[in-house]
C-alpha cells in the first residue's frame, strides 16, 4: 500500500508534472499517478472528427476519441533521477473513477463524463455529437491548427484505497449556507439532478457560499504539504458526497429547488482510517499536425451510425486476478451494414476492451434512423458461453458491466468502528454481522449471506463474491448488524440502491462499502415551505410536531422530537427555524418521521397532518400552498419469508404533465429498475415520475427479527385535484431458485396503504399497481388517522 505522506512532485518537462508515492513498507517501491494521453491504435491517434456535408440527421458532425492513462517514459526517467535508479514501480489498484472531457462551445463550458475501464490503461472512449455548425467549427479550430496544446482538456478522477496517515480530517456540509446562497445569487437552476453533471456546480456553491468545510489536523511530525494533500482529498470527498445528496434530493424532492431539500452532514476520518484516496490528473489534449489532421478529419455526405461499446468495471477476480471471462463477441444489426458487423472485445485487456462501431447512416423516408439492435456472446474460461437477448436502442454508448458476466464482488471495509479488540479506536462493538443479498440467475438458490467483520481496514475487510456464468442484476442490498458489548444489537441499513446511486450510470465500480461507527450520525431535519404565486390561497401559519422513530433499534416509541409552533412562512421559499438536529443510528431503510400538526391557509381553510409518516431517507418535509401531504403504510408483515429472500419495492407518483400524456397506460419499461432501462427510457422515467422511493426489504435475520417492519411513503395531492394517486412495483426473489416474481397490473381504489402479499402469483407479466383514493375515502381515512 502506498503512503500518502510520501508524495513527491516530479517535473518532467515544460508544464509537465507527475506525482509519485512511496510504498508504506518497501522504501524502494514507488507508485506514479499516470497521465491522460490520447490512445494510439495501429500507429495512428484514436481520434476522428466527421463533418456531415449534406444530411446530418439533425447534427453537423461528430467527434470521437479514446484516452488512456499512461506513465510517460520521460516522467519515469525524471523520477528515477530524483529517487534513484534502483527503485521499482508498483501499480495502483483502482477502485473507482471517472474521466471528464472539458470543452467550450461559444463560450460555454461543457463537460462529458464517462467511466473508464478499471484495468489495463483505463481506456475511456468519448463521443461528442456536434449539434451546430458553430460547434463543429469550434472543434475543428481546437484540434487542427498544428502543434501545441488544444484548449480542451481531459481529467481523470481515480480512487485508490489507502490509509489516512499522519492526519485526521473532518468534512462538513452546512445546508443552510448553500440554500441561502442559492436563494441570494441564483434563483433559477436547471442543472441539478444528475450526479456527474452537477459536480461543477456543487464545487462552486460549496466554495462561494461557505457551505463546505474541511478541517485537517496533522499529527506530530507531519508536514504542511501533507496537510494540504489531505485537505485536497477532503474537498474532493465532500464535493462528491454533496453531489450525491443533491442528486438524491432531485430524485425525491418536490418543489423546484433540490438544494433546498438537502440537509447538513458531517463526517470525521481519523488517522489510520482506510479511505478511497483521490488522485485527480488532467492534461490538455494536443492539436494535430497537418498531415495527421488530413487523416483524422473526414467529410462525408450523410450522418453515420457511431456507437461506443465498452467493457467497464472490475472484470478480474479479486482472489487470483484472472479475468472473469475470455471475450465478448458483439453483433450489431443496422440496415446499412449487414456483413462484417461482428467484433470481439477481450475481457481485462485494456487495449481491446472498447470499440467505436460505425456504419453508414440509414435514411428511410429521408430521416436519419438512429435505432439499431445489438446482442453479444460471452465466452467464459470454462468453455461455456452466454448468448444475450437482442437489445434495440438509440444509445450511442453501450457499457457492458460485470453483472452481465454474473460477477459480483463487493468488499466491506471498516472505517474507525470502535471495536472491542483489533486496531484502534477501541470501543464497544464486538463484531459487525453483514447480511448481503443480490438476486442470482434464475435457477440458483437465493440466500441472504451473512459474514462477520471484527476489525477495521483492509485486514478486517469482508468480501462477498460470486461468479455465475449467467447475468445477474446490477443492484445489491445489505444490512449491518452491530453486536455491542452489552449484547444489544444496532441495526443500520441503507435505502435501496436506486436512492443511493440515483444517476444509475450502469456503474461497475460501486464495489466497496465503507462501514462506519453505527452511532452518533449527525441528522438534520428541515421543514420548508413554498408559497407559489397566483394561487387561490397562501400558506399562513404552520403548527407541526415531528417525532423520529427507529423501531428496528428501539421498538418502544419515538427517540427524538421537535415542535415548530406558529411558524409563518414568508416569500416563495422559507424554512422553519431552528433546524432540528439530533444524533441517530444511520438506518434510513426503516426509520421514519411521524409528523402531526395543522397548516392554515389565507382563504380560511386548513389541513391537518394526521400522523403523517415519512421515510427517514427523506429528511425534508415540504409544505406548499398547492399540495397536501398524506402517508401510505407499507405493510410487510404478510410476506412469506420462508420462501422469499428479498423484496424490492419501488414507489412513485406521476407529474401532472405525465398524467395527462400517459393517461391510464404507463410504459412497460416502468416496471424495470432504472439501471436496466436504456438511457431514453431513463430520461422518460425521470421526466414523468415524481417522489420516487425504493425500499429494499431483506428476509429477517438475527435477533430481533428486524425486517418485518412496516415502511412509510409520503404522497402529495394537488389541492386542485381531488384524487390521490400513487404507483408501485414489487419484485420478490424466491429463496429456492432465485426466481423473480412480480406483481401484475392492478388498480386499487380507496386505500391509502399497501399490503405486500405473501407471495406474488407465478408467471405473470410484470406490472404496476396503481392506487387511487377518492376524496370521500380520503376524508374517512383522515378521520381515522386524526
Amino acid at each position: 500500500m502506498f503512503d500518502i505522506t510520501t508524495v513527491r512532485e516530479i517535473d518532467y518537462g515544460p508544464n509537465s508534472v507527475v506525482y509519485v508515492y512511496q510504498d508504506h513498507d518497501n522504501p524502494k517501491l514507488w507508485y506514479m499517478v499516470p497521465v491522460p494521453t490520447l490512445r494510439t491504435l495501429n500507429g495512428a491517434p484514436a481520434f476522428s472528427i466527421t463533418e456531415y456535408t449534406r444530411n446530418g440527421g439533425g447534427i453537423s458532425g461528430l467527434c470521437t476519441f479514446e484516452m488512456e492513462l499512461v506513465q510517460p517514459l520521460a516522467a519515469r526517467q525524471a523520477a528515477e533521477q530524483v529517487l534513484g535508479d534502483d527503485i521499482s514501480w508498483g501499480g495502483f489498484t483502482w477502485v473507482g473513477g471517472t474521466a471528464y472531457f472539458y470543452y467550450d462551445i461559444e463560450g460555454e463550458t461543457e463537460v462529458l463524463a464517462v467511466e473508464p475501464t478499471l484495468y489495463g490503461t483505463n481506456v475511456a472512449a468519448f463521443q461528442i455529437p456536434l449539434e451546430t455548425p458553430e460547434a463543429l467549427n469550434t472543434f475543428k479550430a481546437a484540434y487542427s491548427e498544428g502543434g501545441g496544446a488544444s484548449p480542451f482538456r481531459i481529467e481523470y478522477d481515480m480512487q485508490v484505497l489507502t490509509k489516512l496517515l499522519g492526519a485526521k480530517a473532518t468534512v462538513k456540509y452546512v445546508a443552510e449556507a448553500a440554500i441561502h446562497y442559492e436563494k441570494t445569487y441564483k434563483t433559477v437552476r436547471d442543472t441539478w439532478g444528475n450526479q456527474k453533471q452537477v459536480l461543477q456546480d456543487v464545487k462552486q456553491v460549496l466554495q462561494q457560499s461557505g457551505a463546505g468545510e474541511v478541517h485537517v489536523e496533522i499529527g506530530a511530525g507531519s508536514s504542511q504539504e501533507l496537510e494540504q494533500r489531505v485537505r485536497d482529498w477532503g474537498w474532493t470527498t465532500l464535493e462528491n458526497q454533496v453531489a450525491n445528496t443533491v442528486a438524491a434530493a432531485a430524485t425525491m424532492a418536490t418543489g423546484p429547488n433540490p438544494v433546498s431539500a438537502t440537509t447538513s452532514f458531517e463526517q470525521t476520518y481519523s488517522e489510520d482510517t482506510v479511505i478511497d484516496w483521490s488522485t485527480p490528473v488532467s492534461s490538455f489534449m494536443r492539436k494535430f499536425s497537418t498531415e495527421e489532421w488530413n487523416k483524422l478529419f473526414i467529410e462525408v455526405d450523410n450522418r453515420k451510425l457511431s456507437v461506443v461499446f465498452n467493457l467497464i468495471g472490475q472484470l478480474t477476480r479479486t482472489d487470483n486476478g484472472d479475468a472473469v471471462a475470455e471475450s465478448v463477441t458483439v453483433t450489431v444489426d443496422y440496415p446499412t451494414r449487414t456483413t462484417g458487423n461482428t467484433f470481439v472485445l477481450i475481457v481485462s485487456d485494456g487495449a481491446q476492451s472498447s470499440m467505436i462501431y460505425e456504419a453508414p447512416g440509414d435514411f428511410p423516408g429521408g430521416s436519419y434512423n438512429a435505432e439499431f439492435t445489438y446482442s453479444y456472446v460471452i465466452q467464459f474460461k470454462d468453455g461455456t458461453s452466454f448468448q444475450s437477448d437482442p437489445v434495440t436502442t438509440t444509445d450511442t454508448l453501450i457499457n457492458i458491466t460485470p453483472n452481465v458476466f454474473g460477477t459480483r464482488q463487493v468488499s466491506f471495509i471498516g472505517q474507525s468502528i470502535p471495536f472491542l479488540t483489533g486496531s484502534p479506536p477501541k470501543g464497544t462493538v464486538k463484531a459487525v454481522n453483514i447480511d448481503f443479498f443480490f438476486a442470482p440467475p434464475s435457477g440458483s438458490p437465493a440466500i441472504v449471506q451473512t459474514k462477520t467483520m471484527t476489525d477495521n481496514g483492509e485486514n478486517g475487510a469482508v468480501l462477498f463474491e460470486s461468479f455465475y456464468n449467467l447475468p445477474i442484476g446490477q443492484a445489491y442490498s445489505y444490512r449491518l448488524r452491530y453486536q455491542m458489548s452489552d449484547n444489544s444489537e444496532v441495526i443500520s441499513q441503507p435505502p435501496g440502491a436506486l436512492s443511493s446511486a440515483p444517476d444509475n450510470t450502469n456503474s461497475g465500480n460501486a464495489d466497496i462499502v465503507f462501514v462506519k461507527d453505527p452511532k452518533g450520525l449527525f441528522t438534520q431535519f428541515t421543514l420548508r415551505a413554498f408559497n407559489y404565486t397566483n394561487q387561490n390561497q397562501d400558506l399562513l401559519l404552520v403548527d407541526v410536531n415531528a417525532q423520529y422513530f427507529d423501531p428496528a433499534n428501539d421498538p418502544n416509541g419515538w427517540l427524538y422530537e421537535n415542535t415548530w409552533s406558529n411558524w409563518q412562512p414568508t416569500g416563495l421559499l422559507s424554512f422553519a427555524e431552528p433546524r432540528w438536529n439530533f444524533e441517530a443510528v444511520d438506518n434510513t431503510n426503516s426509520a421514519y418521521y411521524n409528523i402531526a400538526g395543522t397548516i392554515f391557509y389565507s382563504d380560511g381553510s386548513d389541513f391537518t397532518l394526521a400522523n403523517y409518516k415519512q421515510s427517514s431517507e427523506y429528511k425534508t418535509l415540504t409544505i406548499t400552498n398547492t399540495i397536501e401531504n398524506y402517508s401510505v403504510l407499507v405493510d410487510t408483515t404478510l410476506i412469506d419469508w420462508t420462501k422469499v429472500a428479498s423484496v424490492n419495492l419501488t414507489m412513485f407518483q406521476l407529474k401532472k404533465t405525465a398524467k395527462e400524456e400517459l393517461g391510464d397506460t404507463l410504459p412497460d419499461f416502468f416496471t424495470k429498475p432504472r439501471e436496466e432501462m436504456t438511457s431514453e427510457e431513463r430520461a422518460t422515467a425521470a421526466g414523468s415520475q415524481d417522489n420516487l422511493l425504493l425500499f429494499s426489504i431483506l428476509s429477517p435475520a438475527g435477533t430481533p427479527q428486524v425486517d418485518d417492519l412496516n415502511r412509510y411513503y409520503g404522497v402529495q395531492r394537488l389541492r386542485d385535484d381531488p384524487l390521490v394517486e400513487f404507483y408501485y412495483t414489487a419484485v420478490y426473489v424466491m429463496k429456492s431458485d432465485g426466481e423473480q416474481r412480480t406483481l401484475t397490473d392492478q388498480k386499487v381504489e380507496g386505500k391509502l396503504s399497501v399490503e405486500l402479499p405473501a407471495l406474488p402469483p407465478t408467471t405473470v407479466k410484470p406490472g404496476i399497481v396503481r392506487h387511487s383514493i377518492e376524496p370521500e375515502a380520503l376524508a374517512a381515512h383522515m378521520r381515522v388517522a386524526g
Binding site: 467550450d104 463550458t109 481529467e155 462552486q204 466554495q207 461557505g210 494540504q228 494533500r229 474537498w235 488532467s282
Partner: protein, 341 residues
C-alpha cells in the same frame, strides 16, 4: 504602481445584502500615515456620496458606493468610489471627470473620446468610478471608465498592448480602463473565464512582462490552502495591465471576486490574515478595516488580487466595501443632471 482595483461589483443587481465597513473605520486606521489617512478621508467626504443616497451602487457586491483597497506589503490605502449611485452612467462619468482637476494627456483624452463613442451605441453599466490615494503627501485621483458590453474594443486594445490577442477560448473581455492624469498612464482591466496556471505566463508574455505566473499560483494556493492543479480555483476572475505614459506595460494584476475564490467575507478575512501574518506583512489596517460589526458581520470583500510590478516583488491586494460617511459635504441634486454642478 497600480491603483486600487475596482470593477463592476454588481451590487445593484444583487440588491445589496451583507455588510460594509463603517467610514469611521477608515479614519481610525493606525498603520497608514495619519496625515495621509486624514487627507484621504477628507477627499472621500468631499467627492463621495452621502449616506442619504438610496440606490445601491454597482461598485461593490454589497451595494456600498465606496471601496477601500489595501496593498501588501506596501503601506498605504486607496479608495474607489461611486460619486452618485442614484445617477445614470453618463452623469457619473461627468461627475468623476469634474472631480479630477488635473488635465489628462492627449492619449488619455483620445481614450475618453473613444469610450464616449462606444457609450453612444452601448449604454454600459455604470459609466465611471473615481479612484483616490495619497502618494508623497499629494492626493492622486484616477478615472475608471466602464467599457460598455457589446462595443468593439478589440482594435483599440490590440493597439494599446502592441501585440495580438491570446487565449481565444478564455472569454477575455475588456471591461474597464483606468486613467491617471499625473502619471499619464493607462490601465486596461479584463474579465475572463477560468484560467489555467500556465496561461498567466501566456498573458504576461503578451504584455512583454517577465513570466511570473507561478507567484500568482503560489499565492492562490496559500490563500485557499488547496493545491492548484488544474483551473485557478476562482469562479469569477480577471486581470489588468497598467501601461506607463510611454505605452510600456509596467504592472500586471490577476484578480478574483473575493467570494468566488475564498467564499463568504469571514472566510476571506481569515485567509488574508493568516497568509499576511505568515508572510510578515503589516495587517493592522486591514484587520481594523475588516473587523466584524456589532452583529458579527464581516464587511463584504470585493476583490482579491496579486500584483506583479516590473522589477518589484509580488504584492497582494484586497478591497473591502465601505459605507458612505454619515455627514458628508452636502451635495445638491445627486440624481439630477450634474452631481458636481
Amino acid at each position: 504602481m497600480a491603483d486600487a482595483l475596482s470593477m463592476d461589483g454588481g451590487g445593484a443587481d444583487q440588491g445589496g445584502g451583507g455588510a460594509a465597513a463603517s467610514f469611521s473605520a477608515l479614519r481610525g486606521l493606525a498603520g497608514a500615515a495619519a496625515d495621509d489617512v486624514a487627507m484621504l478621508a477628507a477627499a472621500v467626504a468631499r467627492c463621495g456620496p452621502s449616506a442619504s443616497c438610496s440606490a445601491p451602487s454597482r461598485l461593490t457586491p454589497v451595494g456600498a458606493p465606496l471601496e477601500a483597497a489595501v496593498v501588501w506589503p506596501a503601506p498605504g490605502l486607496r479608495v474607489s468610489l461611486d460619486p452618485c449611485p442614484d445617477a445614470s452612467p453618463d452623469v457619473r462619468v461627468r461627475s468623476c471627470r469634474t472631480d479630477i482637476a488635473q488635465p489628462f494627456t492627449a492619449e488619455q483624452t483620445d481614450v475618453m473620446a473613444r469610450v464616449a463613442l462606444w457609450r453612444k451605441d452601448h449604454p454600459g453599466r455604470y459609466g465611471a468610478w473615481l479612484g483616490l490615494r495619497v502618494a508623497d503627501g499629494d492626493l492622486r485621483k484616477k478615472l475608471y471608465l466602464d467599457v460598455p458590453q457589446g462595443c468593439c474594443w478589440e482594435t483599440f486594445e490590440a493597439q494599446t498592448v502592441g501585440a495580438p490577442a491570446v487565449l481565444p477560448h478564455r472569454q477575455i473581455r475588456l471591461t474597464m480602463i483606468g486613467l491617471d492624469p499625473v502619471s499619464g498612464g493607462v490601465e486596461l482591466y479584463y474579465r475572463c473565464g477560468r484560467l489555467f496556471p500556465p496561461e498567466i505566463d501566456t498573458l504576461l508574455r503578451r504584455f512583454a512582462l517577465a513570466e511570473r505566473g507561478a507567484e500568482v499560483v503560489d499565492f492562490i494556493a496559500a490563500l485557499t490552502q488547496r493545491t492548484v492543479r488544474f483551473e485557478l480555483p476562482s469562479f469569477d476572475m480577471g486581470f489588468s495591465c497598467a501601461f506607463d505614459a510611454q505605452g510600456r506595460a509596467r504592472v500586471f494584476t490577476w484578480y478574483s471576486n473575493a467570494r468566488a475564490l475564498l467564499g463568504p467575507p469571514e472566510r476571506a478575512r481569515a485567509a488574508l490574515l493568516r497568509v499576511g501574518s505568515e508572510a510578515g506583512w503589516p495587517m493592522a489596517d486591514y484587520e481594523a478595516l475588516s473587523r466584524p460589526d456589532a452583529q458579527g458581520r464581516v464587511p463584504e470583500h470585493g476583490l482579491v488580487g496579486v500584483m506583479l510590478a516590473d522589477g518589484h516583488p509580488m504584492q497582494a491586494t484586497a478591497t473591502v466595501a465601505l459605507a458612505p460617511p454619515d455627514a458628508a459635504v452636502p451635495r445638491a441634486a445627486i440624481a439630477s443632471e450634474a452631481c458636481h454642478a
